[in-house]
Symmetry: none
Subunit: 244 residues, 2 copies
DNA sequence: CCCGCTTTGACAGAACGGTGACAAAACATG
DNA sequence: CATGTTTTGTCACCGTTCTGTCAAAGCGGG
């Protein structure tokens, strides 16, 4: 989603230049980063990175493509960024249509900025809740990958049923990897979160512990598949390596 | 959320008996299971199991407690079930207030059943998307163009599904291109922002890396469509080349 | 004091990035 | 159209940086 410290990015798709720039200005005052596209075609260039936006504000009336269709296309292409439709019309039929093509909310022009803001915030908040809830679900006390089974509660680990002795820190590192699978983790991030910067150990420490995890869990420690080095960046834990 | 085969359960909190039973009936015809509470107090008995409901329809005017307050309480207690507010009043101020206490949507009486249904479905659908996305991976920073898929968080890239190995700098350059699509970027700008002027490399370095991106991602590296040279100026990244 | 765990330093091997040379293409000029 | 000039494409080489690995030095608890 959005990295800590980074500001939430919004995309406004609106052809009336006045309204668009006014919106951009006001939203930026509220702490968002805002990109503006005047046409559906133009919006495509912003959507090559599908998940950078926290929400999209979409005018229904565009010169080249209907807002409903654009929204439907977006959803069809697997982009589930929250969408707020902006329209002059206010018939129940329109509202229903907007929701049916996958919009999340519907604001009628003329609107108050405060209301639009509240709706944006509401959508962002809900998304936050959902992902928090999902994170809670997935972080369980046990971990399995390859031939390894780890139980963090009882501090027991095994490979192919054979018990393996792990130290405190090995468990801690493993758990951090398990909580952030398939993501490159820098040595600094690991030192902060696993070592909590106790007397600032240097980065070779991390290397050594990864080495030890490899020795414990990799079928072939010289050709790791689960604990991968990403040169220049850090390490990545891959519970389900490619081609398996 | 809801087990497969099981029907989605809704909670309607509404004191006007007519409206409540009418709603229950209609929603059941649409395939939902519906519980009805006539007062805030009574709703508590249904909410002892916080996560059984797919959504809650909440009248703002209740005999014992304000709907806004009830919603705020719900959220404070850690219940993030989607809430649709139902009200006779329709001022922007009310709508904003509803959203601020954590409601997800707002329907004004009198309303069409179709619209309420669309809104309920919209909320359920979004929740489904979110949990899908979370299951896949906490929707990560990703880029798509042509046959290429790039995930910056896991440092993975592929063309037509075939994995492609990229180095640190290749990712960094690609990311800068992706953040500034369809804009001419001078070599100097790229050196500043991607290389951060580490020991001031010369401009041939940039050429080399663009060459490498072309080899990785262009269908025909000798006739680039995504990574274009702009003679005398620099390079331009075009995620959606014309005639496509 | 002993023992196990953690941290550090050293070294080697591998991967990566930067450079310059030359070729090819684009452009300018007459 | 021919020619010279500038810009970009392309390649292979080499120094630098990064990681794997080991052994020895710290550190702390019993």
């Amino acid at each position: 989603m959005t990295a800590p410290g980074e500001r939430t990015r919004l995309l406004v798709i609106e052809d009336e230049t006045h309204l668009a720039t006014g919106l951009k200005l006001n939203l930026e005052l509220e702490g968002f980063e805002v990109d503006v596209a005047a046409t559906a075609r133009q919006s495509a260039q912003f959507l090559v990175r599908p998940h950078v936006y926290g929400a999209i504000v979409l005018d229904v009336m565009l010169p080249d493509l209907d807002g409903f269709e654009l929204c439907a296309k977006l959803r069809a292409s697997g982009n589930y960024t929250p969408v707020i439709m902006l329209t002059a019309r206010n018939s129940p039929h329109d509202r229903v249509r907007g929701l049916e093509v996958g919009a999340d909310d519907y604001v009628v022009k003329p609107f108050e900025l405060g209301e639009l803001l509240a709706r944006i915030r509401s959508l962002l908040r809900r998304r936050q809740w959902e992902s928090d809830a999902a994170a809670r679900d997935t972080s369980s006390a046990t971990l399995q990958f390859g031939a390894a089974r780890i139980d963090f509660d009882s501090h027991e680990a095994s490979v192919d049923g054979e018990p393996v002795q792990l130290t405190q820190l090995e468990f801690a590192l493993l758990r951090y990897f398990a909580d952030h699978p398939d993501r490159v983790l820098s040595r600094e991030e690991l030192l902060e979160n696993v070592w909590q910067l106790r007397n600032y150990p240097n980065t070779r420490t991390v290397d050594n512990f990864v080495l030890r995890l490899r020795k414990h869990f990799e079928p072939d420690a010289s050709r790791p598949v689960h604990f991968l080095s990403i040169r220049g960046s850090g390490y990545k834990f891959s519970p389900l390596p490619r081609s398996s």
